[in-house]
Amino acid sequence: MSKLKHFFKSFTLRDLLTGLRITGKHLWRRKVTIQFPEEQTPQSPRFRGLHALRRYPNGEERCIGCKLCEAVCPAAAITIDAGPRQSDGTRRTTRYEIDMFKCIYCGFCEESCPVDSIVETRVMDYHFEKRGDHILTKAQLLAIGDKYEEQIAEDRRQDAKYR
């Protein structure tokens, strides 16, 4: 009997009409699109975007070439060559490159760094124009760090009590 009832009920297309009603209602709902360049979503201080290498306030680069970030990187995006610097003999990197195509923005490098050198900034809208541009060199990373140092330092300060 219930089968028969179900059979005739199926001809009323009730299920389909219910579905149509839902989408029909949503047609009039408030739209949640964010008009990106003009509007932006709020970002967390822990946002993981473009990488940067930081310096101490006196201008000395923080990185000591420990290669922890290279070791921990799950995507093997970081390549480091290290050795003593000619002027004072301290251990520094001679090469520090991040392949941005490999990077998965997991933030492990940032966590592993003992001197807070490699960090991820809040920059998330960037692009490359030529082949090869996706490999960021040490100089480029330091430049990014210099440019956003204020923001980076502020984010680290806010997050300090949770670390």
Partner: protein, 221 residues
């Protein structure tokens, strides 16, 4: 020269080109498409003869249905053209003789003295309100009623025969049973259990109820 004659010569040429294409194309799929072209342009010629119904039916049945299945068969076939061409020269003389004999026979039957323009009276011109469809329907359902119905029954028998020939009986498939899926209902699959909320497992008391997140209505972002 009227528009009709331009259309006639255009589609008569297309019919011939298509027909020649059917027997000269090396690729079987292209040959079938040429056949489609032939049917289609023949249908246009019929339409010029005021046989609208027949013309459209030709397109609908032959072009739209029969040739599609034909095309499928040809597309899926893996024809070995080399072996097809193997006996070509051997049978060529016999082929030419057959072709000539057939052509002669056909010519003898429908040569211009028999089927020429002089022998055939010009078909009566009909007014704008003449409906080919009505006339055909009237004929089919009066004079030729019996033949029409018998043809229908024969086609039905053919359909039943084709199905019974290809139906191989029940196989124990593991496919889904669509009727079962359709009859599944919320009642027999989902059970809503109301649980009494006791004290929390870790001993802490609940401090506050979770606020229901409600979307604020209206206003931009």
């Amino acid at each position: 020269m009227t528009v009709e004659s331009v259309v006639f010569y255009l589609f008569a040429t297309l019919t011939l080109v298509g027909a020649i294409g059917v027997i000269t194309m090396r690729n079987a799929v292209q040959a079938v498409l040429c056949l489609v072209l032939t049917f289609f342009s023949a249908a246009v010629l019929w339409m010029l003869l005021e046989a609208e119904f027949l013309a459209v039916t030709l397109v609908l049945v032959y072009v739209g249905a029969v040739m599609v299945l034909f095309l499928f068969v040809v597309m899926m076939l893996d024809v070995d053209y080399a072996s097809l061409k193997a006996g070509y020269t051997k049978y060529l003389p016999l082929g030419i003789i057959t072709a000539l004999a057939l052509f002669g026979g056909i010519y003898w039957v429908i040569r211009s003295e028999v089927f020429g323009v002089e022998q055939m009276p010009e078909p009566a011109k009909h007014g704008a309100d003449y409906s080919n469809v009505t006339e055909l329907g009237r004929l089919l359902y009066t004079d030729y009623f019996f033949a029409f119905e018998v043809a229908g029954v024969i086609l039905l028998v053919a359909i039943v025969a084709a199905i019974s020939l290809t139906f191989r009986g029940r196989r124990d498939r593991r496919g889904q049973s669509v009727p079962m899926q359709h009859q599944a209902s919320k009642e027999e699959r989902l059970r809503v259990v109301s649980m009494e909320s006791g004290p929390r497992q870790d001993g802490q008391e609940k401090t506050e109820k979770k606020k229901r997140i409600r979307r604020k209505k209206g206003g931009g972002s």
